[in-house]
Symmetry: C2
Subunit: 564 residues, 2 copies
């Protein structure tokens, strides 16, 4: 295994390098967003141990990026795509937006499994719960609210999108890949409306109909649908996989701002590694040779294709000499798909040692790989363990771009991570230099004071999924809410009314519910979760039998029982 910590000696002492930040021109920002990509689906271990899941993957360029920057080992996202992606645009918690599930391909279609999907049998929790009144037409930029009658818009959140603020401050804003903020037939499906100057391949679709050029990425005549990837027709029949194709196109868009001397914001959102799980021929055979099953090998080849794209980005910024003034952030929109079987292996194991995967508010669904690289500002080879969540990106990007007084119609829930990235990573680097961090386990246990990072270690982070992911019940995925606060994690199971408490420091796999032994803490966290959900008017499922919403955590029998 490659030692991240072996690099530390090379990158220290760092103190001198972190001066002069204020004089520099505003940095370029590359946001490298991967889809359905789990915390352990990489040869770069974010946890204490190199696990079986880590060993299935080869991601040398993620290792390369980690060596140049910081890994965020407690980074969170929403448990499914659209909530994370709209949150990136708005800085609002998913429950606050009322956008709690993924966008359908077409407007007015409720995509969750309760009653929405054609052919749903409803022989599941849908018999018990009806879907909440959520914003299933998802996000519309606030400046187009005046046109809502044109589109017949309802069940929609209006907010001021991040790229618009960046663009209006002078950034060249580029969208590449998956958008998935809103369905076709609404303005939110169009990246231009979000404030992007350039769009490549982004629209309403949450995954490509196909990654393969021989399928024209889904645009075979008579076979296309709203999931077909737009704008990529030059690669039809070319032999170039979608992941490679959008990488080439993404890098070409940078010529213009570089020539103009304008800072750029590249929102590079890979379609991969979402279903359909299709092999990337450049990398597939290695994984078969290493003994993976066909589904696993296909998936691992997609991951390596994504990793190669990351390497191309790094090569590009190195080649253009802009690495020192470019912030790269690596992130995933939710945990790994762990149901359905396309990825091979055993179901529900893809995130191990984390519990469950995509859709779930257990760690497997929401804890995602994240890295930040900014030479001279972020100390290389460090780990930052302060919990961060998707709403934090909005103020972070604005601070990086020097936008000090953004005018938004929405109230932003996140807090800037810039101080954590810079001062926090330098604090960690100094601790390592002083011998206080000797190995990965030390690094993962090391805490950065709020006075350094600007972020409280025990901020309450809320995750809320009042939906059913698939037709069949998934008890550890469907209808769950959670609050993380410090080491503690409260999980509310709406379908049973149970309250669970886990200590993530001791029990990252969420095996041992310790609510009974921590009644006061459980009640306190249940109250906090309830108060926040009420304050946001968060969507809650309706109980069909009563016609009433599912009770808040502090309205349950379980909550009352904790008082005794």
């Amino acid at each position: 295994m490659k030692s991240i910590f072996g690099k530390l000696a090379l990158t220290l002492p760092l103190a001198a390098a972190f001066q002069g930040h204020a004089q520099q021109q505003r940095p370029n920002i590359i946001f490298f967003l991967v889809d359905d990509f789990g915390w352990v689906e990489t040869s770069l271990p974010f946890g204490d141990e190199v696990t079986a899941n880590n060993r299935m993957f080869h991601t040398p360029n993620m290792e390369r990026l980690a060596a140049r920057g910081a890994m965020l080992t407690n980074a969170y996202a929403c448990s499914v795509s659209t909530p994370t992606r709209t949150c990136l645009m708005t800085g609002m918690n998913s429950a606050h937006m009322g956008i709690t599930s993924f966008s359908s391909l077409y407007k007015d279609i409720v995509p969750d499994a309760i009653g929405g999907h054609p052919g749903s049998t409803n022989e599941n929790l849908g018999d018990i719960f009806a879907h909440p009144e959520w914003n299933y037409n998802c996000l519309c930029p606030a400046h187009l609210e005046s046109e809502k009658d044109l589109y017949g818009l309802h069940h929609t959140l209006y907010a001021t999108p991040l790229p618009q603020l960046l663009r209006d401050s002078g950034y060249h804003t580029i969208h590449v890949g998956k958008a998935h903020w809103a369905p076709a037939g609404t303005p939110g499906s169009n990246p231009y409306n979000m404030g992007f100057v350039v769009n490549i391949a982004g629209a309403q679709n949450g995954h490509p109909k196909s990654y393969q050029p021989e399928d024209n990425f889904g645009n075979l005549p008579g076979q296309g649908d709203y999931g077909s990837v737009m704008n990529m027709s030059q690669y039809y029949g070319s032999g170039v996989h979608l992941t490679e194709a959008i990488t080439r196109e993404a890098l070409r868009t940078l010529d213009h701002p570089l020539r103009q001397g304008i800072p750029f914001f590249l929102y590079f959102a890979h379609y991969t590694n979402h279903t359909p799980i299709q092999r990337d021929d450049r990398f597939y055979q290695r994984y078969i040779d290493e003994g993976l099953d066909e589904g696993q090998a296909k998936y691992a080849s997609m991951v390596e294709g994504m990793d190669k794209s990351l390497g191309d980005v790094l090569d590009f910024i190195d080649g253009r000499g802009i690495a020192d003034n470019t912030v790269i952030i690596f992130y995933s929109d939710n945990g790994p798909h762990s149901v359905g079987g396309e990825k091979g292996g055993e179901l529900h194991t893809q995130a191990l040692p984390l519990r469950e995967g995509k859709g779930s508010v257990y760690e497997g669904g929401i804890r995602v790989p994240m890295m930040v690289c900014w030479p001279g500002h972020v100390a290389a080879g460090t780990r930052l363990n302060t919990p961060v969540n998707t709403p934090d990106f909005f103020p972070t990007f604005l601070e990086l771009a020097g936008v000090t007084d953004p005018q938004t119609v929405q109230t932003v829930d996140g807090e800037s991570m810039v101080k954590l990235f810079t001062d926090g990573s330098q604090y960690v680097a100094r601790a390592a230099e002083a011998g206080k961090i000797r190995d990965r386990k030390d690094a993962n246990a090391f805490r950065i004071p709020e006075s350094v990072s600007g972020l409280a270690d025990d901020r309450g982070l809320i995750f809320h999924y009042p939906h059913q992911l698939r037709y069949e019940d998934q008890d550890d995925i469907d209808f769950l809410s959670a609050l993380r606060r410090g080491d503690w994690k409260l999980v509310y199971r709406m379908h049973t009314g149970e309250l669970e408490l886990y200590n993530l420091r001791d029990d990252i796999g969420e095996h041992s519910n310790v609510a009974a032994g921590n009644r006061e803490l459980t009640r306190s966290m249940a109250s906090e979760l309830s108060d926040r959900l009420r304050h946001w008017n968060a969507p809650m499922p309706t109980v069909r039998a009563t016609g009433k919403p599912v009770p808040m955590p502090d309205e349950t029998d379980a909550f009352a029982a904790l008082k005794k």
Copy 2:
């Protein structure tokens, strides 16, 4: 009828206004390109008379633009779409490019009627001629020639595209609408590769599968094909016609360069008025009420939708206060479709008084409506009769943008029209002020000296269509070449070997072949046409019986007979 000449008094004297050009910042450029739009399909008469065809249409915004600027009454294009559009990118004559017919939707498919179309019966001239070895994979930007193996490219022209030169000089280059430079599966299908920073709705397709939002512009699931319009999914089901939708999107793209203070080049290429002929509900009923047949009324409603779009552009630049530093050029890619019947009326009459329509090198196929507006530089309400051709746009746009030494891999055939637009229009305005131009007929007969316009009135302009447009023979469309020089027009009919000569001043309808009475001139022009085609290695059909190319005009029996 609205009098263009009534406006002249208001806009004169102009001399003072045309100073100080050099001090001004580089102008914005809006190139408003309409598809298959004939010289007479407007209520704005370009000819001497208001004809029956003029009376079918209502285009008040074309009249408005004409009153602000100059009409070019002898403006030419190629007889079909892709040659004109690739010529706009390269500045090369279609015969020089070897791109002499329209691009297919998919690479390696020869789209012309000889053998290319599936189901072709070949019971036509295809029995006599085989298609030439033309560049049917059309245009690829020169900087991507290195990737030709990736796409399996052949039969392709490599050239340095205009938008790339403008972008690299600092222009914000925007593509909206129809591209149609090359088929899917090749880099030329992608506007970004041409040097556009922004693309809306442009790809390989030469027409939309549908203009109607209820058809999702062709993207109904399971019905899409390579002609479906990309990027417009926000308008699916919205009730907004494609022409209106792309206008809204086009104008929104201008916010960014205006805010940044960067000049923009907006290449606004409407899909309309190409087939499918579909009614624009906003305007249709008026034309039925006026007695047009259904096809005519549909078509006229599409034209009025286009005209409304032009009005929106004018309102926008007025509203933003940028009219004085914005050059608007109005143009069509070829003459009106006059076969097939969708447009109603009698076939082959749509361009009258001009002969024939789209596809033909007779005037109906190649003489197109053109206008230029640039307040303070172009004298308002004027007519410029100097013949101009598509290759002239390339150097014109570069001169407007102040690009003085463009580096191109190709040899450009055109000449800049800027002096004609400015000095030429002012010369005309002064003549009108001096009473030398009293009416439309005077204006259409008025000649601008080369010393003023920079363009010789009798430059040789070449048109070359070595193809068959449809399965059935169209004698006045298929396999024709032409040379215009001054008032004279030579037409070479490849399938008969005939040489025809017309005097356009006396006979704009090309009714009277006067070759027999002007043998020396006919020979001279046939030699000029032959020399140019040979010099360019222009594609010529192959005679199936001999396996040899069709003879050049000066190799025909008709040419030899003229010597006697």
